[in-house]
Symmetry: C2
Subunit: 204 residues, 2 copies
């Protein structure tokens, strides 16, 4: 069975967006290749599918999408992304959006967005079912924090961007609980360090 | 000439100590070797000099002490460390403690602690003079934030520990200013990822 993985790009000072939801510079790594003429390319990139990326970041993105069977995201994340993702969002698997506002299922290209109003655990259950043996990826600080506190998280993948935002929305607000992690892998790449951790156990 | 380097062990959620100044687990990497019987060993380790460490973390520590000509630290950091460092603290170079309380110069083993009461910039000036061509290392969240905001910082070295503290003292509180960084190096080691960044330029 797959894992539940929080996956976010984060500034060194812990922010996943500025206060006005601006995420400029935080996702530049997705469009940054090792070389101009590298041999590898990513097949999918959020909002810029015609762009072919080369190198390490491309491999990370290929792995990211290749091992993911469903996404869970907060409504804020969906709202930020809806326009830039365009008519064929890069997910190509079911996406479950946790929201308080009911909305009919939305299909764009190969991606279906289901709006879940009865809570994060319901969204996660539906995503796990849809993902079958693949991973469920979680995006958005709010839903990530809820899953961490509920002990429902298996892994944390951070794309650490070398910038200090100086303010904004933190991925890890004061959680109020200690969580021990194990480093699974560290990948240095142009403009970003990809860090992956497994949740070891819950502390006191 | 040397660089001014903030150097701190930090939890993945951004804390350098718990609220009660407890730093348990955060510096365990200093005592974690690659193997039990590795070939390399560190010559100095804070408070446990008789302990011989092997492997990557030892190399990082050797490099850390070998390239450092003086330290600047906050009083809180000094207060936390004074007892565990013992009679022969591991610094072996001049240490300048930024404090509001005047205190006579203190010599322990090969380390001299000078208590600077006229501000961080004075402490940094004295440390730079003492360090000559070597680096000045800065420890403590408070002094680090002051130096970052004042634009007096050249590099940031983070020993990123795979743990979520859930609360405590943040290295990077909301700085209120954006700082662009460049990744200098990433070293994966047992129980820690050593990240080093150069301050690129100050944003708006």
């Amino acid at each position: 069975v797959g894992s539940v993985v929080v996956d976010m790009s984060m500034s060194l000072d812990g922010f996943v967006a500025r206060l006005n939801d601006d995420v400029e510079q935080l996702h530049d790594w997705m469009f940054t290749g090792d070389t101009q003429m590298g041999a590898r390319s990513a097949s999918v990139l959020p909002g810029r599918e015609s762009f072919k990326l080369s190198g390490t970041n491309a491999e990370v993105l290929d792995d990211y999408f290749g091992t993911t069977g469903a996404f869970v995201m907060g409504r804020r994340w969906f709202d930020i992304g809806e326009r830039p993702w365009g008519d064929n969002p890069p997910f190509h698997v079911p996406v479950f959006v946790v929201t308080h506002r009911a909305r009919a299922r939305l299909t764009k290209g190969e991606t279906t967005f289901t709006f879940v109003t009865d809570g994060i655990e319901s969204a996660l259950r539906q995503a796990k079912s849809a993902a079958a043996h693949k991973n469920v990826l979680v995006g958005g600080a709010n839903v990530a924090q809820q899953l961490i506190k509920a002990g429902l998280l298996d892994e944390v993948q951070i794309h650490l961007v070398p910038i200090l935002f100086g303010g904004g929305r933190r991925l890890f607000e004061d959680l109020g609980v200690q969580i021990d992690l194990q480093t699974v892998r560290v990948i240095e790449a142009p403009g970003v360090t990809h860090l992956r951790f497994r949740v070891a156990r819950r502390g006191s």
